[in-house]
């Protein structure tokens, strides 16, 4: 059946197929996570897991992809990931997983009873029907006796969607090529399957109300879900910042539905499943402690440290003038026209940073930059060539005595949009410079 469906859909190399679908340059490293992103619809499922996992436990991420559960490292868990694609396993390690292995989900390379939690997000819908039981059997094997398994699973609505047997070859090829879904079942069917392996199973249909703007468009375009045409067209026309605002609002509502334990109707889209042989705690927020999201371990020099400088890339608080980090390489943040970062240091003698830009007309029109510290102008320069520029700025004594709290502001005199008209891979962010390795010298 597995070969049949994938082969009928024209997918020859599964690992390569999933590598192209799910490996990205996205920085999911927990050290780069901003507390505000807990409301982002993109992290909604991750936050559900985060709030259900005990701090300091051992967690296995099945089908880890690029490492969507890397945020769990903020809770001090030992995090292992398994994926069919070696590139995905590598990407998960890059994003902070303690272990990242390429393996079949039906033959997990771990001893029995190794994990407190076995988690998967968007995985079981990709597992063919005849392998699902084998996967759950492996989950049960590697799970400790009182361990809990948490899953976010894509579903189908048999009344609205054709079954695989009813699809023509072309329909099947198109359907599978979107995401690789070869094992979609209805919500209650997933729950029934878990009941065959675990004594306690709880499940909640989700995504009936809240979807990201990108998901609305995708579900409409690729799967033919009947969302209102004018609404989808409106979403399609949103800019990057508008889409982000929409996704934040959706993520906020998603979280509130969990907090209030509002039972949503079946939507045929997604189900959250929680199962264990031990009695289950609350479905949502069983181990909710988000304090670690607001504090990040910093290496700020203290009287007892011997370091002369500390890095602000992961320690400073970046405002809305910065986009999320990208792997260029290295890991760097793109700035809008103006960006601020706040940090604390007992002393400050100099700042050092690496910056670059991909602005196309740089040679004919240099990019003007101005740096200010606590509102006072620190330096101004013009970028007239591409490539990384190492910038070291001495901080005058009179500016350094600010009581330990600093705000570094960088202003660029213009921005550009990388691919505003690209229908396939649109990027209409307003970018100026990319910055990394920001060091504060004490």
């Amino acid at each position: 059946m597995k070969d049949d469906l994938y082969q009928r859909a024209g997918v020859e190399d599964l690992a390569e197929f999933y590598r192209t679908k799910f490996v990205s340059d996205e920085v999911l490293d927990a050290r780069y996570f901003r507390a505000l992103d807990r409301f982002d619809m993109r992290f909604a499922r991750t936050i559900w897991v985060y709030d259900n996992v005990r701090a300091g436990s051992v967690v296995l991420d099945l089908g880890c992809g690029a490492g969507m559960l890397a945020l769990l490292k903020r809770k001090g868990v030992v995090l292992a990931g398994v994926d069919l694609s070696p590139e995905c396993a590598l990407a998960s390690r890059r994003n902070g997983y303690d272990v990242g292995l390429a393996a079949e989900l039906t033959r997990l390379p771990f001893k029995d009873a190794s994990f407190d939690y076995v988690v998967s997000l968007d995985v079981l819908g990709h597992v063919p029907f005849e392998e699902k039981d084998a996967v759950l059997r492996e989950v049960r094997r590697v799970l400790r006796p009182a361990g809990v398994t948490l899953h976010g699973i894509e579903c189908t609505d048999r009344r609205a969607q054709k079954s695989y047997e009813e699809m023509t070859a072309e329909e099947l090829r198109r359907f599978v090529s979107v995401d690789g879904h070869v094992g979609l079942e209805e919500e209650q069917e997933h729950a029934e399957r878990f009941r065959r392996f675990f004594q306690c199973v709880a499940w909640e249909p989700r995504y009936a109300l809240c979807l990201s703007s990108e998901e609305f468009v995708k579900q409409r375009d690729e799967y033919g879900l009947p969302f209102e045409t004018d609404f989808v067209e409106y979403l399609r026309g949103l800019s990057h910042s508008e889409r982000r605002a929409f996704d934040m609002a959706m993520g906020y509502v998603f979280g509130k539905i969990s907090d209030l334990h509002v039972r949503l109707p079946k939507s045929g889209l997604y189900v959250l499943v929680k199962a264990s042989d031990a009695p289950l705690g609350p479905f949502y927020n069983e181990h909710r402690d988000r304090s670690a999201l607001f504090t990040n371990e910093t290496t700020e020099a203290s009287s007892e440290d011997t370091t002369r400088a500390f890095c602000l890339d992961r320690a400073a608080e970046f405002d809305e003038g910065w986009y999320e980090p990208n792997v260029l390489p290295p890991v760097a943040r793109w700035m809008k026209g103006r960006g601020r970062l706040r940090f604390h240091s007992s002393a400050l003698s100099a700042l050092r940073l690496d910056l670059t830009t991909h602005m196309p007309d740089l040679q004919t029109s240099p990019l003007g930059l101005e740096l200010s510290l606590n509102g006072q102008r620190l330096s101004a320069l013009s970028l007239f060539r591409h490539g990384w520029l190492e910038l070291i700025i001495e901080v005058p004594d009179e500016m350094a005595n600010a009581g330990g709290d600093y705000e570094l502001e960088i202003r660029a005199d213009r921005t550009w949009q990388p691919r505003p008209e690209d229908t396939e891979n649109r990027d209409d962010r307003e970018l100026s410079i990319s910055v990394c390795n920001i060091e504060a010298f004490v």
Binding site: E297, D313, P330, V331, D354, G387, W388, E390, C436, N437
Partner: protein, 277 residues
């Protein structure tokens, strides 16, 4: 008097009937040959004689109607004596009583006579126009035929002249082609020689030029490579710097953790010592 007029009228009618019968016989025969009704036979209308005869007949009829349209039959009686008088008296009474009808008949006769006269005039005018057009057409046909014959004669003479020129041109072309072949062969031979000489002369020069181009391209590639390596090294520097910073962070975190553990151990040791005491 009256008897004389009646006789004249009857005679005219007889003559006209005889003339009609005599003319109609050949026309009917011609139409029958073509398998068409007599009135529709094209030959009947086309003959000028037919139209002339029709007009002559119309003239004869018009002379009759012109003479008799206002004439009324006389009051006659073949009786004698009192009976004749009585009959004539009665007829006069009847004539008087039907005077209105007689007057209408006279009016009709007048209108028919004059209408036929007008139609005859129009037909005569058309006949004359037709005759004139026929004569003009015949004249123009004759002239056209004469012109065509003249043109055909002229074309014949031109064709024979062209044949002669073509023969002359072919002979000239053959001679020219032979000459051109000879010239080309000589030219190619000369060019080959020149090319050989030129190639020999340029060989040395080209080597120098190519060498210069290759050097320039190599320098360009070196420069591009140098730029790319510089960019790569710069990127590598930034990445290494990032790794160094992360390693430094990890070292600091490790050191802090170590110190915390050591402090915790010392604390535990102190507690253990205290508890032992």
């Amino acid at each position: 008097m009256a008897e004389l007029e009646v006789e004249n009228t009857l005679r005219e009618i007889r003559e006209r009937v005889l003339a009609d019968a005599g003319r109609r016989a050949p026309t009917v025969a011609a139409a029958s040959v073509r398998g068409m009704p007599p009135g529709l036979a094209p030959g009947a209308d086309e003959s000028a004689g037919g139209a002339g005869e029709a007009l002559a007949r119309m003239d004869a009829n018009l002379s009759t109607t012109g003479r008799a349209w206002s004439r009324l039959p006389p009051l006659l009686s073949y009786r004698r004596g009192r009976a004749a008088r009585l009959e004539l008296w009665l007829k006069r009474q009847v004539k008087r009583a039907t005077h209105w009808f007689t007057w209408e008949q006279v009016n009709f006769n007048s209108a028919a006579h004059h209408a036929l006269g007008d139609a005859r005039s129009a037909l005569a005018a058309h006949e004359h126009a037709l005759e004139r057009l026929q004569s003009e057409l015949a004249a123009s046909l004759v002239a056209s035929l004469r012109d065509l014959r003249a043109e055909a004669e002229e074309d014949r003479s031109r064709v024979s002249e062209l044949h002669a020129r073509l023969a002359r041109a072919e002979a000239h072309f053959d001679a020219g082609a032979a000459q051109l072949r000879e010239t080309l062969a000589a030219g190619i031979e000369r060019l080959v020689e020149e090319q050989r000489a030129l190639a020999a002369a340029l060989r040395e020069g080209l080597r120098e030029e190519q060498r210069a181009q290759i050097h320039a391209r190599a320098a360009e590639l070196r420069s591009e490579m140098h730029d790319r390596v510089d960019g790569l090294l710069e990127e590598q520097r930034v990445c290494f710097k990032q790794l160094s910073l992360e390693t430094g962070e990890a070292a600091v975190m490790h050191d802090r953790a170590r110190r915390q553990i050591e402090a915790r151990l010392e604390e535990l040791e102190k507690k253990a010592v205290t508890s032992e005491k």
